[in-house]
Subunit: 556 residues, 2 copies
């Protein structure tokens, strides 16, 4: 089969993605329920077996020239993975990438789209293996792990492919240009060529090793670049499964497998900074802490490297006026609990008017809001069917230390955290949400990110003051999300204006099965690129167009 035939085979998928991206309407190419009816009755059990087979063994790739092994992943559910991976040196990674680039950039955009979607389709057969691997590296509950690293991540990859395709497709590839000049004319045959920036490095994070990496990788790939996925030392396996599958697919299709490489290190001998500073690396995608992100920005200053960042922020919520307080607090309690607050989109600072919240049943006092939120979290956490799976485990002991530090801050504890039992995983490190009360929005403790199950309820003088505190916080400390409960149109307009100005996405009045933590591929932009939390947005035009240039050729 030719590459163009491969494109034609996937053209329907691409076109649906393009339609969704333009219209921002709902689309999911891969269904999100981890259901046997969709993915095959034995898929879950097969995936679990594959995961178990991966343990205590050596993981190998088609990728060439490894030297030694690395790997010391630890399941947050309390056991070592004991997987050894090949270590690849920066020199070998770059040599492989350069040789793959010279081939990859010769493909047409359609050919690249066909090959990349085929890679995704074949890798999607491993969704359950990837899901269990994500659970046991990040600590996510299984359903979330399946969705976040499987269908949702793959949809984000498809979104990036489609957005890059659309950007390239904006301008014609060639034209017969005729300029009339009175009685004569000038004719030129012009062609326009996509010139990729070169080699992309995507630096993965420990909590969403695939979801946060695929957008940069696939935006780079569709625009003719090759990519090196640097996995986080604590979450290698999920993306390793993907990349091994991609490389096998590429080989099967007759394409250089080094178009998509993996770089692996462990915490004792990190290679990320070294790689990122290599002059051959032309674009870097980074998701992770602000401290490392800021350092990366600093070391790349003055270089030609284009850096895309999603760093940390302080997400805010405001409970101002509500229709049904129960529905609101149910929603918020779930958002705080989901994956124990270890999402870059989890609310942290919750503003509440000090004189209480207007509800359909009258004013509810500030203190009652605090108590009721505690009760809602309790109800979820202590629900044996729902609690442990929603909370998951802590991806790192550092999160537990942070919870302890917050507890020791001396702030009033609205809800204390405690460990949560995970059936079958007695050694899981888990910890339910800690909710603290601060005195005012000025307290320094709320000006930084407390990544994990830690949130603060902050009294404000009025709803307007809360909106202003939120927009000030976003401007100064960055944020991925904001969530507001407001009823009056005037207040909603005011909030909208101030928060657009601050450069952050806004959700109003979420209740029911939709949470502020979630962003939907093809519809919601993830990250605005407009506040200190990062300069990138999945996937706007800048996210793809900065990865290539257009070169014009003119001939008579």
């Amino acid at each position: 089969m030719s590459y163009l035939q491969l494109f034609e085979q996937h053209e329907g998928t691409l076109n649906k993605a393009l339609d969704a991206i333009r219209s921002r309407s709902f689309y999911a190419h891969w269904p999100e329920p981890p259901s046997g009816r969709i993915y095959g009755e034995t898929a879950q059990e097969d995936g679990l077996q594959s995961f178990k087979s991966s343990l205590n063994s050596a993981f190998t790739f088609p990728q060439k020239d490894s030297s030694g092994t690395v790997g010391s992943e630890q399941s947050p559910y309390g056991f070592p993975l004991d997987i050894s991976y090949p270590a690849f040196s920066a020199d070998d990674l770059i040599a492989n990438a350069q040789s793959a680039l010279s081939e990859w950039k010769q493909f047409s955009t359609k050919e690249r789209a066909g090959i990349l979607i085929e890679c995704l389709e074949r890798a999607s057969k491993h969704f359950f293996h990837i899901g269990f691997s994500t659970m046991h590296t990040t600590g996510q509950g299984f359903i979330m792990a399946f969705q976040a690293s499987g269908p949702h991540a793959f949809d984000r990859a498809l979104e990036s492919i489609a957005t890059g395709y659309m950007a390239i497709d904006t301008f014609a590839e060639s034209v017969q240009w005729t300029k009339p000049m009175g009685k004569m004319q000038v004719d030129l045959q012009k062609t326009f060529h996509v010139r990729p920036k070169g080699i992309n490095l995507t630096i993965g994070c420990s909590t969403f090793p695939i979801w946060n990496s695929f957008p940069g990788m696939f935006a780079s790939l569709i625009t003719g670049n090759v990519t090196i996925a640097k996995s986080h030392p604590s979450a290698i396996l999920p993306i390793a499964i993907c990349i091994r599958s991609f490389q096998e697919t590429l080989i099967d299709l007759g394409v250089n497998p080094h178009v998509i490489q993996i770089a692996i290190d462990d915490a004792s001998q990190p290679i990320t900074l070294d790689l990122a500073q290599r002059s051959e690396i032309t674009t870097v995608d980074y998701t992770g802490s602000s401290s490392f992100g800021n350092h990366l920005e600093q070391v790349l200053q003055g270089s030609k490297t284009e850096l895309f960042t999603e760093k940390a922020g302080v997400n805010c919520a405001l409970i101002g006026e509500v229709e049904s307080l129960d529905a609101v607090l149910d929603n918020l309690a779930f958002s705080l609990s989901l994956y124990s607050g270890q999402m870059c989109t989890t609310p942290q600072n919750i503003y509440v008017p000090k004189d209480g919240v207007k509800t359909s049943e009258g004013i509810v006092s500030f203190d009652d809001i605090c108590t009721k939120l505690k009760e809602k979290v309790d109800a979820l956490v202590f629900n044996e069917k729902m609690g442990p799976g929603t909370l998951g485990a802590l991806h790192s002991p550092a999160v537990m230390s942070r919870v302890e530090k917050a507890k020791a801050s001396g702030l009033h504890i609205i809800r204390d955290s405690a460990s949560v039992q995970h059936q079958g995983f007695d050694s899981a490190i888990s910890c339910s949400p800690l909710i603290l009360k601060v005195e005012s929005a000025d307290q320094a403790i709320v000006h930084e990110e407390w990544f994990g199950p830690i949130s603060f309820i902050i009294p404000v003088d009025s709803i307007q003051a809360g909106i202003t505190a939120m927009s000030d916080s976003v401007k100064k400390h960055g944020a991925l999300t904001t969530l507001l409960y407001l009823q009056s149109k005037e207040l909603m307009s005011l909030a909208e204006e101030q928060l657009i100005d601050a450069g952050v996405h806004v959700s109003f009045n979420l209740t029911g099965p939709i949470w502020v933590n979630q962003s939907a591929a093809f519809s919601d932009f993830h990250g605005a690129g407009a506040n200190p939390a990062g300069n990138a947005s999945f996937a706007d035009l800048s996210f793809v167009s900065k990865r290539f240039n257009v070169i014009g050729i003119r001939k008579p």
Copy 2:
């Protein structure tokens, strides 16, 4: 008339521009001939009179809060303009801009498009005034001055408006999003808002004060930013006429005139660096020397300011194999002579195989190529009807010094430069092309830009060696243009591949009335953004999409 009606009035113009941009086919909204039949029989004379009335007087703007005056422009044709302009402080410019921004960003993209095109249409009535002003600040001959600062520049502005409009229009403004979830569904009303980066500063250059400034200004404006045009102290009048007209139009339309401001200084008290470093300035467009551009990059390092550059490069040509040597050298002689080589697109380094050039009439030796090129330049320069108008005058005495320095380099002089008489302007500073011969592509003198009527003929061992020397030069020293004369398909493919890789636009085999110096709005990208000559391209998607972010709002 409402702003939307204004949009509807100009929608046809916008749509033609959009069609041309997408297809890259020929389009010109404003005709390029400075012809009385097009622009009115008295237009040229009226424009000249307007120019004369501008002399020896005070130029004023609707723009507020000037303090003192500046201005010491000098016509390269030998007389002072004696125009005083209001000086605006950085503080006042920024205060004006901030207040205008809060209004401007509220307009819809359609409204902004309508207003901006109306601004251009009304300012286009001043094409001849602008033309004479450009002639007597930059030194361009009148026809070129008319075209470059009039129709061509205005077409580039329209191109930027359309490209920005298209980028914003890529994604829907709103959607009713419905996610099916088994027996239930989630509904969200989503809106997507263009958030401009803020205040743009466009730093103009001395040779193309409008053509090089309009793209950044109008790309900023259409995407919701306000702009401050910093004029070059030696070429204020042309853009001052435009901006006064824009501000009058804005006032007439009921829009804050400070949406488009001018900043003026003189060489003794420069304000550019001060302005560029203000934190309120969020994007900077720069055209000019590499030394100032590199300094600007350095001082803005680590800031949030997005910098778009068109710096200097070393443009290259290669005469390898030709059909008609006469036609080739006629074309090249004109390119070297046009505006005395003071274009960022003029070829400087001309590679010629040391064993001669294959022509339809046999091999012509290297030395004969040199002699014949000299004769072609002589024929143009000494043609009294064509010569002076093509060459124009030197925009600055620094160019003359550079010519003297090149002459004193000790290199063999193929064609010596000499002053050229401009009828009616006895004191014009003018100087015909200097052509020097170097020994090899390795000589350091050809590794830097010699802005002005200075070029070098460089012997190379073979055509392949010439192509490699060109691509090496582009990678190291940057270039806006390359021009190659080749006949064999293999060599053309080789050149195309190497030069795309080097990141530069390529023209092959130009003869007749189309020159490598020219780039056509809506079709040719100007600057590739892919080599050391600059990071911007008029007008690709990055050029517009980096000027705004998209903010999403979700409501049930």
